[in-house]
Amino acid sequence: MKRRDFLKYLGIGAGGLGAGFVLGKASNPPGAKLIPYLIPPEDVIPGVANWYAGVCTQCNAGCGTIVRVMEGRAKKIEGNPLHPVSRGKLCARGQASLQALYNPDRIKGPMRRISKGGDFTGISWEEGLEILSGNLAKLDKDAPGLYMLTPPLRGHLNSLVNGFMAAFGSPDYFQYELFQHRNLIAANRLSASLSEIPYYDIENTKFLLSFGADFSSTWLSPVNMSYGYGRMRQGGQGKRGRLVSVEPRMSLTGANADEWVPARPGTEGILALSMAYEIVSQGYYRGADGGAWKSVLARYRPAEAAKITDVGEERIKRIAREFAETRPSLAIGGECVASYENGVSGLVAVNVLNHVAGNMGIKGGVVPNSEGFVEGARRPDLKTDRISTLLKSASEGRVKALIVYNTNPLFTAPKALDAGGSLSKIPFIVSLSSFMDSTTAAADLILPSHTSLEDWGDDFAEPAVGTPVYTMNQPAVSPVFDTKGAGDILLAAARGAGGRVADRLKWNTFEAYLRESWQGLYKRNRAMASSAPTFDEFWSRTLQNGGWWQEAEEPRKRAVYVSASGAGPHLPQSPSRFEGDEKEYPFYLVLYPHAGHFDGRGANLPWLQETPDPMTSVVWGGWIEINPKTAGGLGVKEGDMVTVDSPSGRVQLPVYLYPGIRPDTVAMPIGQGHTEYGRYAKGRGSNPLDMVPAKEDGISGEIALNSTRVKITTSDMSGEMVKMEGSTKELGREIVQTVSPEEFEKMPKDAV
């Protein structure tokens, strides 16, 4: 071997040796640390999960949850199997609420605005609370002008907030959320004297008639109602229940229906009443006041209603007869009906239909709930406590200070209401929200609160399940960031204010307040008191079970009566109005809450952004649904960007060709189009609320989402719609196999 070659080999050998050594070292890095506890927490075994019960806050259903915690970190959230509302189940939004806790875009500590219109700067809690107390102290003792805005709270946080406002001598506590069922509450009060939203017993019904109620994804209590739906179809008692859905745009529930009835938007109430007329006139109604009903309903004969609603006369009669003959049957009226300008009257019509068919107060029908509201809490007065009232007061300069907590009117109120302009007139806005949403971004002081997984709280589910459901929420993990509980912030502010206010809110922590309030509940409620000998035992059992509810198997029966004279004046006189001339704006606009983002609050959770929409499979963005025939007429194809104009505003969105929508209607989900709200939500899609006029239901004050017509023009703006679906056709592969109902009836049932 040549010396030169030898050296080469030597070099390569040494290099290889070194490289091997280095790679070995790198692939097996030393010094992984083994960090023990300083003082071990009680009942914690590393590597073994603990579960803590709580309540989900992603919507207003009030599902009981359990949180899986390992080594102090929340790993998974599931339905509480003991809880009568969630029954151990949870929807997509509930599952994703863990990402709210660990969201990288949470507000990490108190902040204040340096100057009006300027940036935020981080401050300490002492400083933040001092600013708050200082501003509250400046308020006039007699007319403080202190306003409070929260979502519709039902637990003891509500009574604390109410007590806080009372201590300051201010009556102006507002509760606002886009979908807060004000119409449903109003309709049930007016027509059936029900102070609580009743329990719609889908589980035991045999014929479910849904008027735009998308309980499969968002309406009222999706988990509980989906559970009922499953049992109605299979696994329940007796015959398989039938589902008929009336709505201009096929929702997820409509997609599961045996029959879809695309009535003209705004006429669903009239359709319900024409069915009620058919039931009464055919002699199905058993009440003594049949004559009174017949005269009240005479205006809604199927023949005339057919012209108004665009549903065939025979079809109306057939469904009505089936509804009356199938026992028990149930009609529900949901978001779509409730979102018209005459939403309350539409829902009253649904109640009338239930009444004449004999579904009120029976198993498998409308089951009343008893009053389960917390003492000292405030229920919104439908007449006065409206977001429009609050914004009007603000724009007139009567609001001196506003405390806003976890509700985002700058996003969820129609742009036409000009919430931004009104709020800018308020000299001092404090936000207690956990996220930098549009409203919080307009605040002067941010005192970020815990998410529900870090905080104490409770909730009184509405609708309950025929018996009251009191849910308890305890902290599952210690705070991730430098935040405090909303209740604790208010108590600290009251302490800072001193004097009368501090005297009336003497509790040191919200936990203490909660415990004391529950002690009062325990003393007053005989069933609670008999469930445990001492309060301490009751309390620990309540924390362990995640709340308190009666073990009653059968919901309490109570007569519910809808009278012709009572409901008559509230029935829809004509189809709901839509703004815009039919010639200029040819399409009805129907808005609905996105299955994942709901009223927009889920848009900052990446799991929900990446979960395909059940009907369109679109991810990470918004869209507009247009019937393929209509699209052909407009010359647009799937994925094209279009400009949508209403008399009140404009948005631009990509087109999704949706066969399940009336050709004279277009639909859009609400939820995207945030201008703030963190990296996952900000600047994604458009907010269709920009096109909604400033209209509300006269009786309830609910915002009328579906009250405008739109026109569509092609847009040269670029944008991309990403959908996960491949083909929407099975192409003969028989992937989803079916049997006909007749065939199913013949199948042997005992084999199962």
């Binding site: 070659d5 050998g13 290889g16 070194g18 091997g20 992984a32 506890y37």
Partner: protein, 177 residues
């Protein structure tokens, strides 16, 4: 070796590659065998010989969770201080411990037995199967500074699983998920 032309160049390149690869392998193994930190220095010169050997403290007095969880558990600092608040408080090593306790900081022990993330190893099942701690951890009672005596390679795991005829002991999903 004196050939020229393309064949010669290829031969040469191949032999370079072989030499390089062999050297690489040898280097990798040398690192693994002698320099991989089987006996790392710890922040406190804790002696198992004194605790488990001389004083015969049972393993699970400190490693609390070995029969309850997948992890055996390192003793929390409070447990150390439970004894050392009074025992041998003058020793410089105990003073180090006391300093951590004063600062309310946990002791940053260096891991000796470190498995990759894709390996699931439950202590509990092995203890319940009747294994002695020493079977894998060696005669800890005689170790002044803890050292890793087992290779913790997959072959090492499997040889025992095979020998003891563990039910499903050779199924991949028993340890890897």
């Amino acid at each position: 070796m004196n050939e020229t032309g393309p064949i010669g160049i290829i031969k040469k390149l191949v032999s370079f590659a072989v030499v390089g690869a062999v050297a690489f392998f040898v280097g990798y193994r040398i690192q693994g065998r002698y320099f991989s930190g089987r006996t790392p220095a710890q922040p406190i010169e804790f002696s198992h010989r004194i605790h488990a050997g001389d004083n015969k403290i049972p393993c699970m007095y400190c490693h609390l969770y070995a029969d309850k969880s997948r992890v055996a558990g390192v003793p929390n600092v409070k447990r150390c201080m439970g004894c050392h608040a009074v025992i041998k408080t003058q020793s410089p090593e105990i003073q180090k411990l006391a300093a951590y306790w004063e600062k309310k900081e946990p002791v940053p022990w260096v891991k000796v037995h470190n498995l990759p993330d894709h390996v699931y190893f439950p202590h509990k099942r092995h203890i319940k199967a009747g294994l002695e701690c020493q079977q894998c951890h060696g005669d800890v009672a005689s170790m002044k500074r803890i050292t890793r005596v087992s290779s913790l390679t997959m072959g090492w795991c499997l040889s025992c699983h095979t020998k003891r005829n563990v039910k499903n002991g050779r199924d991949c999903w028993t340890c890897h998920i």
